[in-house]
Symmetry: C2
Subunit: 621 residues, 2 copies
Amino acid sequence: MARWGGRARPAMQVPSPSVREAASMYGTAVAVFLVILVAALQGSAPAESPFPFHIPLDPEGTLELSWNISYAQETIYFQLLVRELKAGVLFGMSDRGELENADLVVLWTDRDGAYFGDAWSDQKGQVHLDSQQDYQLLRAQRTPEGLYLLFKRPFGTCDPNDYLIEDGTVHLVYGFLEEPLRSLESINTSGLHTGLQRVQLLKPSIPKPALPADTRTMEIRAPDVLIPGQQTTYWCYVTELPDGFPRHHIVMYEPIVTEGNEALVHHMEVFQCAAEFETIPHFSGPCDSKMKPQRLNFCRHVLAAWALGAKAFYYPEEAGLAFGGPGSSRFLRLEVHYHNPLVITGRRDSSGIRLYYTAALRRFDAGIMELGLAYTPVMAIPPQETAFVLTGYCTDKCTQLALPASGIHIFASQLHTHLTGRKVVTVLARDGRETEIVNRDNHYSPHFQEIRMLKKVVSVQPGDVLITSCTYNTEDRRLATVGGFGILEEMCVNYVHYYPQTQLELCKSAVDPGFLHKYFRLVNRFNSEEVCTCPQASVPEQFASVPWNSFNREVLKALYGFAPISMHCNRSSAVRFQGEWNRQPLPEIVSRLEEPTPHCPASQAQSPAGPTVLNISGGKG
Amino acid sequence: MARWGGRARPAMQVPSPSVREAASMYGTAVAVFLVILVAALQGSAPAESPFPFHIPLDPEGTLELSWNISYAQETIYFQLLVRELKAGVLFGMSDRGELENADLVVLWTDRDGAYFGDAWSDQKGQVHLDSQQDYQLLRAQRTPEGLYLLFKRPFGTCDPNDYLIEDGTVHLVYGFLEEPLRSLESINTSGLHTGLQRVQLLKPSIPKPALPADTRTMEIRAPDVLIPGQQTTYWCYVTELPDGFPRHHIVMYEPIVTEGNEALVHHMEVFQCAAEFETIPHFSGPCDSKMKPQRLNFCRHVLAAWALGAKAFYYPEEAGLAFGGPGSSRFLRLEVHYHNPLVITGRRDSSGIRLYYTAALRRFDAGIMELGLAYTPVMAIPPQETAFVLTGYCTDKCTQLALPASGIHIFASQLHTHLTGRKVVTVLARDGRETEIVNRDNHYSPHFQEIRMLKKVVSVQPGDVLITSCTYNTEDRRLATVGGFGILEEMCVNYVHYYPQTQLELCKSAVDPGFLHKYFRLVNRFNSEEVCTCPQASVPEQFASVPWNSFNREVLKALYGFAPISMHCNRSSAVRFQGEWNRQPLPEIVSRLEEPTPHCPASQAQSPAGPTVLNISGGKG
């Protein structure tokens, strides 16, 4: 656990009620730069970098964030590098990356000096100083590279204007102040140059498993791609394993990002193609190109996935992901998502993923299992909903049949929805009681789908139930959004990575179609026969004809919470395990896990009541 | 506003982390009684009694509570008289009078001394000292009458273990400690002699209107009743106004409780009989007696109502309640509810109500209007519900038609449900937005139905909507509870007292019966035709045959929140105003009032961290 900086206090912290008073106190100090030294920081610096995690915030690379996590203190230490400071910067977090209702730390200047304060923006983007200062400045240092700000913040602050830092995606926001201010309160974020960056802040602190002595590496990179001058590009590149490449275990992988392109390479995935095809044509080009060979659509088995801000992915010491050898395709597809909002042209890139693999196969093959909802239109979200929840089940009957007696161990998870997904969670239930969260993301974004190592391996026994719930926002839709493969349809999936591998590839559910049919008839009856939900119509057509009044919405919710389900308990995407899987009862859950309430740090009352005054440039006083 | 005792501190308050340490510090003090003086208390005592409100807590009269309210400080000052102190007492509040999950103040003794502390009981009745001490002892004084404890508490404390003191009913609880304790934590309330008393703690602070010079009084009392030796008796007594008694205005009334029977007389009401009957036979006896004349059932027009802990009821200066004169019955029925849990026998009582009336009629007649749900079985509560809400409407169409252009002014309210009612609230909405609470009781009890003067008169304009919602608990029912007159059926009514009187006596609603019929057919369809909801069956029979799974519950809720309503917009209980009142749309509410969140007093951090040590008897140390 990182303990540096633990109980440190900035030497010049001013608990003053009035910023102007404080400013005049220090306004006379003329110094080119002033370092607020933190004694503890210098005492016991850890061997490796104190900030293991890095991310560029803006596409120009003006702001760069590094951070470290103390789970013991429930605190994050941030280091923000501001390469070209004008009159100040804003940095913070918000629910989904908006600059309104954001939790902010602001470095700002007036004619007298510079200040650092915990602030927040209201729903109109107006910035206010926080009555409780939870971002605590530890050091401010000007270097040739730029200004370094070191500060810390507890995960939870108990301040209703503050963001609660949770597991999963965090939407970081930033903004630039161009001119000195009269006061902090004069800032409205709508008038600033701002942006957002998604990242998993609370990375798990998992000890790195030792790599086998014979570990070799293989780089899957699209060589010398000319990044297109457009905001979004998915680049597809096909490569192949050497002829006769035998079965190996992937034990780790890491990103290779071409230097200078750190802010452009958003995410990358390596897929294995279907073994059915003898060969797959080589290709290097945009995935939506008309030139793309059709067969690339059959390269969907994930071998590795990386997204911005992630570090290396390690398999548990006992397990590895098999690739190569008979029965598997030699062909791999690399997909690189370039995010180029400034429409930079002429930039070349050779980013990709470096696989670490061993011929000395580990004890267990790792596997990937799909949990959640089956891809069917019977599961639908009414339009204009702000938080509609759909739930998919992996029932006790399926796990009883398909899992080994000793159970399986889930060590990583990739959550997946299409465009309207806002939250995803998978919960484990045993004997009708929810016992554990497998993975939860309360700020899930379909634009940021990482494979995440779990903080704690979750063991699933035969007879356990896995419940995956997705929350959708369809405020911008005029018709119901049905389940399906299309980008405007929805999914609710958790790809869990586990070992030992089993034959169970897919454990998902959907409402019984007969009960949905009763629902359409009911809607028909309650709406004075105005609506024709013709029995010949398809399910999407029937959903499209529902008048979405409160009753039809509530009854659909009640139906999904009550009606029996069709289980998809499958060996592969089409082959079910033997048994009766239609009209299965919903798992009965008698005891739910409660959302954890953040416990308020005892040190809360000790935080300064006003902003910290600092002097980072020639004062005028 | 009462300001005495404002910033007072007990002289011996010990902010000690350890009770035992504190005990040993003071254990050597030997004093028969010790007074903790409060300087501020002696400075500026108000002219009238500092404790305008009184209530006996236990039927033996051992504990007597007096209190005063400072709305400016949002604090209640309590004076608890303990007539026969053994080893200690518990006093406090809980949601519905249970001794578990109660917010308690405890006076307890060990071998070294006596202590006063803020405590709470968990769901098993185990008592714990509160980490935040919000009951603050101001004085402890032994007198020949008993021990007086003076303490105060803010309405809200922001401590999750504390009760929030709100408008409406408060369930006070108490208990007696028979033996000295090793520690507070050794108390479990299940082993004690305990009880509950309901009271409206937050009485409104309304200036008393001046009474007319010619005010006369009339006492309606059942003379010399021998209180039956049983727990519950409703006593009925018929009396009459003098022959030719002309029209008067009642301007005030107050209880007359026979001395010594304060803990036995639970509530009293005076009703006027229906004018249709020339005469009503005289009677004095239990209301459920077979000897009771049938005609007494037609004496239901409330003239006055009082319940334990209430003081005098005043009409606003501009209005009075008409009685006497042509067109109204001369006959009155007094109903007294004796609550006799100790089954005391041989006690005689002549309690009743004293009416203050004037012949100089005031400008306005006061009226009573029924809001809420019509008495019909179409509104029903499924069994096993902990908090099922039914809502009745007084629509804009009805108020537009029936109220005068200048509107009406509601100054008092009596909430009414049968046995499963737990909360009642009436909200005023204008132009689709909720603007004001007319009356709310979050701890409503059907055993405690007072007419309550409102803290603030609520004006209702033509076109306004009045929404009355009742929350029911049917955990102990096996079948649905339908609306109706029977004691096992339910009601949801707010009798509002207002002026000027209008012809609108009843403004209530119920779901459209046609839509309920559709619901029964839907239930039939969704439950595999197992249930026969025969179309010939009555509504209660149909409700009795519904299998109460989650779907049928949720859909009933959705139906009540969506289906059109039948309006009862009536001149008298049977005569509707002219117009179409069937299949009316539900009022559309675009903006709801939020439940007020208690704002935490700034002084909170100053409260002592441990109990207060006091010495009220000869110490042993």
